[in-house]
Amino acid sequence: MNSVRAPLSPFTAGLAQVGACGIFLLQILRALPRSLRYLRETVRQVFFVGAMSLVIIMTCGLFVGMVLGLQLYHTLSIFGGTAALGTVVALSLYRELGPVVTALLFAGRAGTSITAEIGLMRATDQLDAMEMMAVDPLAYVVAPRFLAGIIAMPLLACTFNALGILGAHLVGVSWLGLDNGTFWSNMTANVDVWEDVINGVWKSAAFGAVCTLIATFQGYTTPPTSEGVAYATTRTVVFSSIATLAIDFVMTAFLM
């Protein structure tokens, strides 16, 4: 029916949105096999959401690592444990900060542009035009971006972690005088590839899926007005941030 429905309460409307987003996810998963035809588009999107986000990810990773190095060095020095600086920084980054901060930055940088791009395609009838040319926009537009988010997020998180460790090294070793061998040897001795690094990669992939799902859903379902696109991009950042932190808690509880 196309007729008018009674307005929903905010809670019911929120639940309806979550349900609609779930159905949208199923539609994307169903379109994924067809989207393999558009491999070039997926590669283009990996470049767009991944490579184009490198500057902000690397810069933020470096500064987060420097702040971590500075704070932890002073805290550890109280207990005479500055030798553990490399270990603590690496564990913090691999397990939590890397995946989570990367996802928050991704939502702000790539998520908003995905929403705005798809929203404008909706507003200017480009998605309808594709439908009319018998090209499924879910397979051609949405699925490649969804895949790109899942591929790019772990790579970005690894880059963030690497730059974070470099930042902590700069502060701890080059500036505050911690022994270089101690920094690296303690880190390599106490960081486990499977428990720490790979678990972080799983988290990143999950955050990539959730952030791009929210971004594409908001863009695809936005009202075709400039105000609608503006609200949709805002909602992308807000919902992606909340979802990232909530899923982080759940995954941490299961992966610990």
Binding site: N2, D128, A134
Partner: protein, 276 residues
């Protein structure tokens, strides 16, 4: 005997008992309509009467609340996704606002349907695209981006894209908006040529009476959710009914209200009962 009704029936599109309610407003209330094969049929009517909505029903973009839409022997709203896409491959659609893909050049926009559905050699794609662009007078603009085109040029590119696969049915939604007289004349000729040489069925949605009368074989006039009149351009121009008289003479007074429903004008201005 041919068992396929799509091949024996002279009517390409048959709509029966169409009823549509959008946002509480009744757009169509029991509309019956036939579009003959190989002819140019215009759908006209005042703004907001649902001409584009009707096209969206025909192409399976919008579900009606009741009634059936049969295109080429197939009930559009009973088709699965793949069958609907197969049908759409045979339809060219010119959108009201062109709907060009903004990331692609003019050439790539026109080539898009070919690249998506046919594995043609690049040289053939190039020749087909340039032929269609030549037909709309924009071969020289092939490498421009949509943002570099005027509104009228964008519509001509969209028209080239709509006809690039020589479809069975072409739907032109407001094709004459923004065209200068030269482009308008050429597009009219192109529509007529496509119809005469390829036997393409065309549906023209528009307001430009003078232009529509030059090419349309018949006209449906829609008003107040129903078919207000149907006939050849000459029949309708004679103004046999109050609907056609008002629409073709452009008068504000008549069965089609010029003003959107509103409260009393004097009362809204605060003049009612003031005694002045």
């Amino acid at each position: 005997m041919n068992a396929n009704p799509a091949q024996t029936d002279d009517t390409l599109i048959r709509i029966r008992g169409l009823r549509t309610v959008l946002n509480g407003k009744t757009i169509f209330d029991g509309v019956d309509l036939d579009i003959p094969r190989g002819r140019i049929t215009a759908v006209m009517g005042p703004s907001g009467t649902g001409k584009t909505t009707l096209m969206r029903h025909i192409t399976g973009q919008l579900a009606p609340d009741a009634g059936e839409v049969i295109v080429d022997g197939q009930n559009v709203w009973r088709l699965g996704r793949d069958a609907l896409f197969d049908l759409r491959e045979k339809i060219g659609y010119l959108f009201q606002n062109s709907a060009l893909l903004t990331d692609f050049s003019v050439f790539e926009n026109v080539a898009f349907p070919l690249r998506q559905h046919l594995k043609l050699p690049e040289v053939l794609v190039r020749n087909i695209v340039l032929t269609k662009l030549q037909a709309v007078g924009l071969r020289g603009a092939a490498e421009l981006m949509p943002s570099e085109l005027s509104g009228g040029m964008m519509r001509r590119v969209a028209l080239a894209r709509a006809i690039v696969r020589d479809p069975m049915l072409i739907i032109y939604d407001e094709p004459f908006v923004g065209l200068d007289p030269i482009a308008l004349n050429q597009i009219l000729k192109l529509i007529r040529t496509l119809n005469e040489t390829l036997g393409v069925t065309s549906i023209l949605v528009g307001h430009e009476l003078a232009a529509v009368r030059q090419v349309a074989d018949s006209i449906y006039l829609i008003a107040a959710g129903k078919i207000a009149a149907y006939g050849t351009p000459e029949d309708l121009a004679r103004g046999a009914t109050p609907w056609t008289r008002q629409f073709f003479s452009g008068e504000a007074d008549g069965p089609v209200p010029f003003h959107y429903p509103a409260p009393d004008y004097a009362k809204q201005l605060g003049l009612a009962g003031s005694g002045r």
